[in-house]
């Protein structure tokens, strides 16, 4: 009987491992896409528990800045939520001038954000002054 269980799990692991990858620009979620190790009914509890055990969370992959037509610096923070759970957090972007001095603004407040599990996300922020040249960003847990 134990042999049968082992065989079933092995087959499931191999079967889901053979899935064809989608175009990376299109995110097909669990329940819509074919099963993966994380979504399969047999392997899901193990993978989710492992993900939680190693503390998977938000990963920032790239931060891009550009100046828009109106002359304001725009920030795009691209990231990926490695966890299987939706991560809710707050972020705050502060803007710095050419001398590295903080620009006082009422737009630099803690804003809520939510990234679904195993999904990419983008945070956009706009500097409120044209003389902003750099930024710093902070995050904290969403109570």
């Amino acid at each position: 009987m134990k042999k049968f269980d082992f065989l079933l799990i092995t087959l499931t692991v191999f079967a889901v491992g053979c899935q064809k990858q989608n175009d990376s620009r299109i995110h097909v979620r669990e329940g819509v896409a074919s099963d993966t190790l994380g979504s399969n009914i047999v392997t899901r509890p193990v993978t989710h528990a492992f993900s939680a055990l190693i503390g998977e969370g938000i990963e920032v992959t790239r931060a891009v800045t550009r100046r828009n037509d109106a002359g304001f610096l725009e920030l795009y923070v691209n990231g990926y939520n490695r966890s299987y759970d939706t991560k809710r957090f707050r972020y705050r972007v502060e803007w710095l001038d050419a001398d590295g001095i903080l620009i006082e603004t009422k737009t630099s407040v803690w804003l809520p954000f939510s990234a679904m599990g195993k999904s990419p996300f983008t945070i956009k922020a706009v500097a409120p002054r044209t003389h902003a040249v750099d930024f710093r960003m902070d995050t904290r847990k969403w109570e």
Binding site: A70, L111, K124, P128
Partner: protein, 200 residues
């Protein structure tokens, strides 16, 4: 006996004093207080921040000839069950528009108007004032853009014990001459909580 009563009274007073709710200052920079069903300063900060960023990113305030637009604040309708001073929201937005360097706000007209601007013009015939220091006719600058908007609320029964309150902040920026709308946006703040707690 009397000593015992005194001890008990003293002990009760001591513990009662220890239970009193202490007044604390709110750390507005990193407030970790629980959300409330009504709108609080954090909601206004968030709405104002999102609106300002959206407006600046749209480029609607950038004048083609390089000058600065004159903007007047119109009516902000409060269609919620709460007594909201809409200036609380608009003051933040007006400050950021001014500080952006792309527009100036006018105090001559609109909901942000200053009565003294008109009162001081009534001094034109007064012999008490140096007429050279009194504002002359046709010196006020008319607004080119106006900001107006609405804050409204929807209460939804989520389940038997929970209610959902949705607050919508809507703002629009219109050109006075043409009547065309250059920018508009909406920010939603949703709260879910006990149906026993009131949102006003």
């Amino acid at each position: 006996m009397k000593t015992k009563i005194l001890y008990v009274t003293a002990a009760i007073c001591f513990f009662a004093a220890g239970c009193a709710q202490e007044t604390t200052m709110i750390d507005t920079m990193h407030d970790e207080g629980k959300p409330v069903m009504a709108l609080d300063y954090r909601d206004f900060d968030m709405a104002a921040s999102k609106m300002v960023q959206s407006m600046l990113a749209s480029g609607a305030l950038k004048k083609q000839d390089g000058g600065r637009y004159v903007v007047a604040t119109g009516r902000i309708v409060n269609d919620t069950t709460q007594r909201i001073d809409t200036d609380q929201l608009m003051a933040k937005i007006e400050t950021e528009i001014l500080n952006s360097g792309q527009a100036v706000m006018t105090s001559a007209i609109g909901s942000g108007s200053d009565e003294l601007l008109h009162e001081t013009r009534e001094l034109r015939d007064s012999e008490e004032f140096d007429q050279g220091s009194v504002a002359q006719r046709q010196t006020l600058i008319a607004p080119e853009l106006t900001i107006s908007g609405k804050i409204f609320q929807r209460n939804i029964r989520y389940d038997r014990n929970t209610q959902q309150v949705e607050y919508y902040f809507q703002l629009k920026l219109s050109d006075v001459k043409s009547g065309l709308r250059f920018w508009q946006d909406e920010t939603l703040i949703g709260k879910r909580g006990s149906s026993r707690s009131v949102s006003w």
